[in-house]
């Protein structure tokens, strides 16, 4: 399946990209995060939440379809 991965705030800074496409088999959010940290060691120990198609999900959530994944650092609105 094809995933679009979006990085925001300090995570975009850590990876030096804001968005990329990824071809990957069905996986849990934690497996995906592990893979991304392997690819971008600067993500390690960063505090972030994961949204799948604009909904926050926990790390057990299974991604089994084309989706937009966003890595969201702590919110700072207002």
């Amino acid at each position: 399946m094809q995933l679009t991965i979006k990085y925001f705030g300090m995570l975009a800074e850590a990876t030096s990209i804001t968005e990329e496409q990824l071809q990957i088999d069905n996986c849990s959010v934690s497996e995906l995060v592990e893979k991304l940290i392997h690819q971008y060691p600067a993500l390690d120990k960063k505090d972030f939440k994961v949204a799948v198609n604009q909904q926050l999900v926990n790390h057990n959530y299974i991604i089994n379809n084309k989706a937009e994944i966003a890595l969201l650092p702590p919110f700072a609105g207002g």
């Binding site: 979006k6 925001f8 705030g9 300090m10 949204a51 604009q54 966003a70 969201l72 650092p73 702590p74 919110f75 700072a76 609105g77 207002g78």
Partner: protein, 147 residues
């Protein structure tokens, strides 16, 4: 489908006092309103280990943020007897002393607007994916985090 109708809450740069004034004036025709309440978030010159913040550069996951603003708006109307409600949030650079968040609630009665405004502002701070880069005088930066 529904997403196409979402309001865009974001404005580029600081929210001017003229914009806020005009927004208030527009409500003079809504004569069932007896009370307005307004929250203005202002960028603060925080002193962080001897370095002074001069501006915040805001970014957001805009699609999700507008969806969240929409959900907060719906929940607030459900919970409180409001006549109307407006939210504007800055994107991009906002200097210290400038306004970055404008929330405006109106109701026939005052007690409602006091409670509703706090509810909306707290929900925005906790739930909306907006990110802030605090820029110091020497152009270094750190990432803001809501407490």
């Amino acid at each position: 489908m529904e997403k196409k109708k979402l309001k865009n809450v974001f404005v580029q740069g600081a929210i001017s006092s003229e914009f806020i004034g005009t927004s208030i004036a527009k409500h003079q025709t809504k004569t069932s309103i007896g009370a307005h309440n307004i929250f203005l978030g202002q960028v603060r010159a925080d002193d962080i280990e001897g370095k002074i913040v001069t501006a915040i550069d805001y970014t957001a996951y805009e699609e999700m943020a507008n969806q969240k603003f929409h959900e907060i708006r719906e929940a607030t109307f459900e919970k409180f007897d409001l006549t109307c409600m407006h939210i504007y949030h800055s994107l991009g650079k906002v200097n210290i002393g400038e306004i970055c968040l404008f929330v405006f609630v109106s109701s026939p009665r005052r007690k409602v607007v006091f409670e509703a405004l706090e509810y909306v502002v707290e929900a925005i701070k906790a739930e909306v994916p907006v990110f802030g880069k605090e820029i110091f005088e020497d152009q270094t930066h750190q990432w803001k985090q809501n407490s």
